[in-house]
């Protein structure tokens, strides 16, 4: 019984501002990285006069657009306890899916864009999601398979050639601004806000966290774990398809060598943002902090004239240190 009164006593101050803040920072693992991001930002602003300018911030944000979208999709998948290696090759494929609708079939650009996103969602949901959620295959095996599958299809439909395209819609998406903010950035913010809402304010969002946190308990409580997994991989596919169209817009062409190693940057961003391998903990807010951290680091180092090989070395070390400090924090909190 003394345990009860102790806990009740402890409950009182939790209503205070300070405790609320502590609670918030405890449940939001990215707070440490956010601090690092701010430090990095301030440091670059002082050290490099060209850093904190409207033009450079615009470049920085549009520069992380693709990483932003992929990381958001990957976050949803990782929250369910899975992983999706195929997102990188899905990016390249989507660029050509858009070309197919827009150039080959002559559809209006907006319709082609919407259809491309739908195709991405269907590929993600019906192949990755179905095999992982319904058939029960391990996610690494499935997405290693689709990684190669999507890449192969991309080379088949493109013959290994870059297809250039001109579209006024893509030009405005890629290069115009609204209210002083690039349209690309509006799209990025839109995707973020929709996902924040879906994950934090809907029953589906809860299903995602429950599926990653404890699939067995979730299933016993009536959560449709299979449907949740299929939806998560579909969302990731759709977001990456949108990123594929953005990529087309930036280079006014679809290139079969699009994907590359971006999935690794996305993984780093998601982990930096506090979403854990194994799922159930984290969120898209943290992921964005991770994406911006990588973006600021790379942009600042470039402006400072550091050779790209050194940039990679420095990014690698800082990412490891950041994840390490996060782990240490978490361990301290546990004990």
């Amino acid at each position: 019984m003394t345990g009860a009164t102790d806990a009740q006593a402890a409950a009182e101050p939790s209503t205070s501002r300070g405790a609320q803040l502590r609670n918030w920072s405890a449940s939001n693992q990215f707070v440490g990285v956010l601090g690092l991001l701010v430090c990095l930002f301030v440091a670059f602003s002082f050290a490099e006069p060209r850093f904190f300018t409207a033009a450079n911030i615009r470049v920085l944000l549009t520069g992380v657009a693709i990483l932003w979208m992929i990381s958001l999709g990957l976050t949803v998948v990782m929250l369910t306890g899975g992983f999706d290696l195929s997102l990188g090759s899905m990016l390249g494929l989507s660029g050509f899916v858009f070309v197919g609708f827009y150039v080959k079939l002559g559809m209006p650009a907006l319709l082609a864009l919407v259809l491309t996103v739908i195709v991405g969602a269907i590929l993600g949901g019906a192949i990755n999601g179905f095999l992982i959620g319904k058939v029960g295959l391990p996610f690494l095996v499935v997405t290693i398979g689709t990684l190669s599958l999507f890449q192969g299809i991309t080379y088949l439909v493109s013959n290994g050639q870059t297809t250039s395209l001109t579209s006024s819609l893509l030009d405005s998406i890629g290069f115009e601004t609204k209210l002083g903010v690039p349209i690309t950035v509006w799209i990025m913010l839109g995707a973020l806000i929709v996902l924040l809402f879906v994950l934090r304010r809907t029953y589906f969002g809860r299903d995602v966290y429950a599926t990653g946190g404890n699939p067995r308990a979730a299933r016993l409580a009536g959560v449709n774990v299979t449907r949740t997994l299929i939806a998560a991989y579909a969302i990731a596919g759709g977001l990456v398809a949108l990123a594929g169209v953005l990529q087309d817009a930036f280079i006014s062409a679809a290139s079969p060598v699009g994907g590359g190693t971006i999935i690794f940057d996305a993984t780093a961003a998601v982990l930096l943002g506090g979403t854990v391998l194994g799922g159930g903990v984290g969120g898209v807010g943290g992921t964005i902090v991770g994406v911006l951290f990588l973006g600021v680091l790379q942009n600042g180092l470039s402006l400072a004239g550091i050779a790209s090989a050194w940039q990679q070395v420095i990014s690698g070390v800082i990412v490891i240190l950041a994840v390490l400090s996060q782990q240490l924090q978490r361990r301290r909190r546990r004990s």
């Binding site: 019984m1 345990g3 009860a4 806990a7 009740q8 402890a10 409950a11 939790s14 609670n23 449940s27 879906v198 304010r201 809907t202 029953y203 589906f204 809860r206 299903d207 966290y209 429950a210 946190g213 404890n214 067995r216 308990a217 979730a218 299933r219 016993l220 409580a221 009536g222 959560v223 449709n224 159930g280 903990v281």
Partner: protein
């Protein structure tokens, strides 16, 4: 040898037999030929059906047990300790294991065999030692004992065999749950039972008797092989859990941490999970309303938590269990299935849980509770069904039944 096997499932029989003492050649690591030859010698000695080159995971349970025994022999064992090795074996598999132990006995091997099952003791043992609460109560020649006497010494009471096991289903005035001939391959055979409104039925039996598997099958998370489950006259379709919940079925599983709660999610989120599992998924839960409801539930169920927004991992075991119970009571069930409802819970929480279950009964909710604690069943239930090796072997009225009766039927007494 322990109850659970200690084999490496992906290795072959031979590799498992000589897992520890391998034949090592001086220069080139393990001598696989010699290993296989030695394993084969032992394996043939045991008269096993499978080849030493088969993968262990492909073997049936009894043959896996054989591999363990073979391993023991390979170490030139002179004393074999068997700790309830039969809990996962079928009748015929048990018989072939016993056959083997007898032949080993003839070759001078001593065996200590730990079991709860009377018939097995009489089939195998020469001498018996009875333990209660960690102390030796009695020891002697098995010939001087019968099942009655052993159970009496074990539990410290005499079974009233008058409360005989009439296993025909006891009809209830207003049945809410009706289970007909439900079978789970390897675990439950032909179980039938009825739970009435406001009635409380207990499931007793040793670990491995199929209690938990029966509850799993009723709820629909474990595939049943034939049989039917009805709630209020409507048959359930297995595997559609949110539909079962909507019909009024609730299940508090035995393994709280792995099946009861999502520990990283908040108290509120866990409390709402079952009752909202049928909602449209893109709808928004009313946050203010939910928190108010969570606070009310916490008060009603006596859940001690810093706030409704802390993760369940921060709660004590007893409070976690109350969250699981409260989660299901929110789904307005007509029948509550519980497996080990007070495992790992302190006395205060235990009493609280008993009170909540009594209240649930008063509301007309039917209760089916499985437990390894005899006093718990006697305190909570009107009727107790005893399971032995996957079958319901006795149906006892709590008014007349004693702990000794439960022990008697749980251990295979007749």
């Amino acid at each position: 040898m322990t109850q659970e096997t200690t084999l490496v499932p992906d290795l072959t029989v031979a590799e498992n037999i000589l897992l520890g003492p391998r034949k090592v050649r001086r220069w080139s690591g393990i001598d696989w030929k010699a290993t296989r030859r030695r394993a084969l010698e032992i394996w043939e000695l045991l008269g096993a059906e499978y080849s030493v080159d088969d993968q262990v995971s492909d073997l049936p349970p009894d043959q896996q047990q054989l591999v363990e025994i073979a391993r023991a022999i390979s170490m030139n064992a002179r004393l074999l300790l068997l700790d309830e090795p039969t809990s996962s074996l079928t009748e015929t598999e048990v018989e072939s294991l016993f056959e083997l132990v007898r032949s080993l006995k003839a070759r001078g091997l001593t065996t200590i065999f730990v079991s709860h099952r009377m018939n097995e003791l009489f089939a195998l043992a020469d001498r018996i030692t009875i333990l209660r609460d960690g102390r030796t109560v009695e020891a002697g020649e098995i010939a001087d004992y019968d099942a009655e006497r052993i159970i009496e010494r074990m539990v410290g009471g005499v079974p009233t065999t008058a409360a005989a096991g009439d296993v025909s289903v006891v009809e209830a005035a207003a049945p809410v749950l009706r289970v007909r001939n439900l079978s789970v391959p390897g675990h439950v055979r032909d179980a039938s039972l009825v739970v009435g409104a406001g009635q409380s039925i207990g499931l007793a039996g040793l670990t491995g008797s199929g209690r938990a598997e029966l509850l799993d099958a009723i709820f629909g998370v474990r595939r049943a092989d034939g049989g039917s489950v009805e709630i209020g006259g409507a048959e359930l379709r297995p595997g559609q859990i949110s539909a079962s919940i909507a019909q009024g079925l609730a299940y508090v599983p035995g393994d709280r941490k792995n099946a009861g709660l999502v520990l990283d999610m908040t108290v509120t989120e866990n409390l709402m999970m079952a009752s909202t599992s049928g909602s449209v998924r893109l709808r928004t839960p009313g946050r203010v309303r939910e928190r108010a409801a969570a606070r009310a539930v916490a008060r009603e169920f006596g859940i001690v938590a810093a706030s409704p927004d802390v993760p369940c991992s921060t709660l004590s075991g007893g409070n976690q269990q109350k969250v699981v119970l409260a989660k299901w009571m929110r789904s307005s069930p007509r029948i509550l299935l519980l497996d080990e409802p007070t495992r790992g819970v302190d006395i205060g929480a235990k009493r609280e849980i008993y009170r909540l279950l009594t209240e649930a009964r008063a509301q007309g909710i039917g209760i089916l509770v499985s437990s390894s604690e005899t006093e718990e069943l006697l305190a909570l239930c009107d009727h107790i069904l005893v399971m032995f090796r996957g079958e319901i072997v006795a149906s006892l009225d709590t008014a007349t039944a004693t702990e000794a009766d439960l022990a008697h039927y749980s251990m295979g007494g007749r």
